[in-house]
């Protein structure tokens, strides 16, 4: 690397929120033309640090140098003028606008009072050619794939003249093939002299894409390392601060009876479009069936149909030998179904309610929690005390609102409530979304314990790693159909990626 210059230096950055230091003396150096990964768990302070850099938050202490000059990034406009651009995890695009319109939005080229789309189009064509970003500027954003939408976001940032690009968890929404493409684009950008910060918690991506990696933990700098010098295990330890068990031990469990039997399941989604087009599968006791697929291929409808939240148009759902198709939610719950929902704050909890009340949400109407419609708060509290202890929910009291808990502990409340009811079938939808490594480890262990007890677990997740680690079998959903069934020890990320995009596998042995 000749001509190594530092485009960004963040020195001793402190950000204090009411006495809680989200960033505590963090240092970060980004060199010209490199890809720097920023690694840390959820809540380690990555987003805070990047918000400071992009002018959304003011640091309590510390200084920022851009290309050697000290700057005060008071607001996002200053950041933009310094050439700093951020590609957010959740795209900020308008579906009904074309790619071109989205890119120029807020920076329209004009001829008098008229839009000058021609000029913008030539500029954008040039940019996309130069960096290998193939998107059709005339297509509507709602009609293109998520990966293409991401390229639109990149183009947007480039169009605004950024040469320092920050990517916030960019691969969360991509298939393995798209990730490979994406990394290629990143490298192209770096080669052309753009400097890139890649925020991630995926170790494998860092190994593939980044030159150097800065690790932060609990708001503090752990250090910056050359990626070539560290292993995945090193990085994981640096990130978490202790030895991490990267491989779960999954003992063999004897399969029990069939617990869930889904035949020819057809479901229309809320917009009236057929979202599930005739799914059939079985799930036996002591088995974890992973459901892989890209978000929006029928996962929501599958979970909602089984748990009674969505009307089933055709087909049959049998649980423990009983037909529970289109039954009321409570009947299904009582029929032995536990449900860990994907959106824990929307579906899983009533945030202003106490921890004790939330733990009783599924059985408050039953004895001994209530009798003749009168709640027995002593029983509810006792039950809560037990679960808090058993599931290691970190709290100072069971009567605090559940919103006071951290994300991981909120998820533990749901897990405790659902697993405690001794249901035979556990529907776990994105059970570890947004949690840190420690909490993920804990929840995975709990699921494996339930498996060992002979329960049947349907695990729906967008995290391929999670599916691969836990599942005994994997079905892949694509466009409302099962595009293939594989075993984790016989498949690869590539094969799963192909199935996720709907390329059917030849000669799949259906179990």
């Amino acid at each position: 690397m000749e001509n190594v210059t530092n485009v960004i230096e963040m020195r001793h950055i402190v950000k204090d929120f009411n006495g809680f230091k989200a960033n505590d003396d963090i240092n970060l150096v980004l060199r010209h033309g490199e890809i720097l990964a920023l690694l840390g768990e959820n809540g380690a302070g990555k987003s805070t640090l990047m918000s400071i850099l992009s002018g959304l938050l003011a640091p309590t202490a510390g200084e920022i140098l851009v290309r050697g000059h000290q700057v005060d990034v008071k607001n996002p406009t200053i950041a933009k003028n310094l050439g700093i651009g951020m590609v957010h995890q959740h795209f900020m695009l308008m579906d009904s606008f074309t790619v071109l319109e989205n890119i120029i939005l807020g920076h329209e080229t004009t001829k008098g009072p008229k839009l000058d789309l021609k000029k913008a189009r030539t500029q954008i064509d040039e940019l996309s050619k130069r960096y290998g970003l193939n998107v059709d500027p005339n297509k509507r954003v709602g009609d293109i794939t998520v990966a293409q939408q991401q390229r639109v976001e990149i183009l947007k940032v480039l169009y605004r003249g950024a040469d320092i690009l920050i990517f916030d968890e960019p691969t969360a929404v991509l298939t393995p093939q798209e990730i490979t493409e994406f990394i290629k684009i990143l490298k192209e950008l770096a080669k052309e002299g753009k400097s890139i910060i890649l925020i991630t918690h995926k170790l494998e991506e860092i190994k593939r894409a980044a030159d150097r990696v800065t690790v932060i933990r609990a708001g503090k700098s752990v250090g910056t390392f050359k990626v070539a010098d560290v292993t995945d295990n090193n990085l994981a330890e640096l990130m978490v601060g202790r030895h991490v068990n990267m491989r779960l031990t999954k003992p063999a469990v004897e399969l029990g009876k069939t617990i869930l039997n889904v035949t020819n399941l057809q479901v229309k989604n809320k917009q009236g479009i057929v979202a599930l087009k005739g799914l059939s599968f079985n799930l036996r006791g002591g088995e974890i069936l992973g459901v892989a697929g890209i978000d929006g291929n029928g996962q929501d409808e599958l979970v909602e149909a089984i748990t009674g939240l969505q009307h089933v148009n055709a087909g049959k759902i049998m649980v423990n030998g009983r037909d529970l198709t289109n039954q009321k939610v409570r009947k299904i719950t009582q029929g032995g179904v536990a449900h860990i929902p994907a959106d824990r704050q929307k579906y899983g909890l009533i945030l202003p309610f106490s921890i004790a009340d939330n733990l009783a949400l599924q059985n408050y109407y039953q004895k001994p929690f209530s009798r003749h419609h009168i709640l027995h708060h002593d029983v509810i509290n006792q039950h809560a005390q037990q679960l808090v202890k058993k599931f290691d929910i970190r709290t100072t009291g069971i009567n605090l609102p559940v919103s006071d808990l951290s994300g991981g502990n909120q998820q533990k409340v749901i897990i405790a409530r659902e697993l405690d009811r001794d249901s035979n079938l556990i529907i776990a939808f994105q059970p570890t979304r947004g949690l840190d490594v420690g909490a993920i480890e804990y929840i995975h262990k709990q699921l494996l314990e339930e498996r060992a007890k002979g329960r049947a677990i349907l695990l729906i997740s967008y995290e391929l790693d999670e599916i691969m680690q836990l599942s005994d079998r994997i079905i892949v959903l694509h466009d409302g159909n099962i595009s293939g069934e594989v075993k984790p020890e016989e498949t690869s990320d590539e094969e799963l990626g192909l199935l996720m995009t709907g390329v059917k596998k030849e000669g799949t042995a259906l179990a």
Partner: protein, 370 residues
């Protein structure tokens, strides 16, 4: 910026709203050259300074307690019931009608019958809006506000065209009810200086306890609160949103109807043509908001409102201040309640002990690992 716990904040914010309202009222009085100190002194003196004043203040608070509870139950379920005036009016007319039509029934039968009829009448009016919302997702603000007009003129029609003229004094007023259908208690009235205080206040106190018990101690209250706080999670937990909206509206209308009942069988002893929606409905809404929808809060807020109303009369007669100024003071207080959010911003939440503890723990963990 003061740091307080959220509990202190809940109490402090309404108190500051009230003080700010009084202050604005004082400024307005100063602008028009009235003496605010004299005005407020005469206000409290006439509302609380003698037995008659106290009795009238309690009498004024009675229907507000019912309508406020009505509003609070509906709002717990996420339903903004501003149809309280109509529901109360239906309860008023229905209860008076029952008493007038059955003058020979014994009191133990007639009084409960009239009260229950009033409750049912209020519940039916509210139930229409609840049903429309549960079944078709109709916006309850529009339906309840329109139902107020429907009830207002339906009551006029029913009284003037349907009610036998033998029950009426003239086209606009019914006869006064007999003692066996009245909530009046002679010794109570005479104890409070011949005021119109009546047995309604005992019903109201019972209602406050019932409301508290219902919301905090029963599965019904738990479900209503759940549905109102997070309908998605409630559905996930197998509760029926429709059933709970319907139920909360029936309860809400029932309580509002009771507000009308005590107005009829207690305060006025008859029914007379109303030209606008009942005040007790609108005031009940404000009382519930000021009281934070808690049982004790409603009780205190209802008393404050009636002090303002009864004391307002004293401000006119003793201090010679126009009633409009009194209305402005009351409006100012309501205004400050409505912008509670802004007042709440004056206080920072103290970090909840739980979060602080967890953070400490995390720091300790990090320390150990080094």
């Amino acid at each position: 910026m003061l740091k307080v716990t959220s509990r202190t904040k809940r109490i402090l914010v309404p108190i500051i709203s009230i003080l700010a309202g009084f202050l604005i009222g004082a400024v307005i009085m100063l602008i028009w050259n009235y003496n605010p100190i004299q005005a407020y002194t005469s206000m409290f003196a006439s509302a609380l300074g003698n037995m008659n004043g106290i009795g009238e203040t309690i009498r004024e608070a009675t229907p507000l307690i019912f309508t406020a509870i009505g509003f609070a139950i509906a709002s717990s379920a996420g339903f903004f019931n501003i149809g309280l005036p109509g529901q109360a009016q239906a309860g008023w007319l229905a209860s008076i009608w029952v008493v007038l039509a059955n003058p020979n029934l014994p009191k133990v039968v007639l009084l409960p019958l009239a009260i229950i009829t009033g409750i049912i009448a209020g519940a039916i009016v509210a139930g229409i809006a609840g049903w429309l919302r549960a079944q078709f997702g109709t916006n309850e603000v529009i339906t309840t506000i329109m139902l107020n007009y429907i009830v207002l003129y339906s009551c006029q029609y029913l009284m003037q065209q349907v009610m036998p003229s033998s029950l009426r004094l003239d086209t606009d007023t019914t006869k006064t009810i007999a003692a066996n259908g009245s909530l009046k208690i002679d010794w109570l009235s005479s104890f409070f200086g011949d005021s119109r205080i009546n047995a309604g206040i005992f019903l109201a106190l019972i209602a406050v306890v019932v409301y508290w018990y219902l919301m905090k101690k029963t599965t019904t209250g738990f479900e209503i609160r759940s549905v109102g706080t997070n309908s998605y999670a409630s559905r996930y937990a197998g509760m029926s949103t429709k059933k709970n909206i319907m139920l909360s509206m029936l309860l809400s209308g029932g309580f509002a109807g009771l507000g009308g009942v005590v107005q009829g069988l207690g305060t006025y002893q008859n029914y007379f043509t109303q030209t606008t929606s009942l005040d007790i409905g609108w005031d009940g809404l404000s009382v519930a908001l000021l009281g934070g929808s808690t049982a004790v809060g409603i009780l205190l807020a209802a008393l404050l409102f009636s002090i303002l109303k009864i004391g307002g009369l004293g401000m006119q007669t003793i201090a010679g201040i126009p009633y409009e100024i009194v209305s402005i003071v009351i409006a100012a207080i309501i205004f400050f309640i409505a912008i509670q959010y802004v007042i709440g911003r004056l206080f920072k939440d103290k970090q909840s002990p739980n979060l602080a503890a967890i953070k400490k723990e995390v720091q300790a963990d990090n320390g150990r690992q080094k």
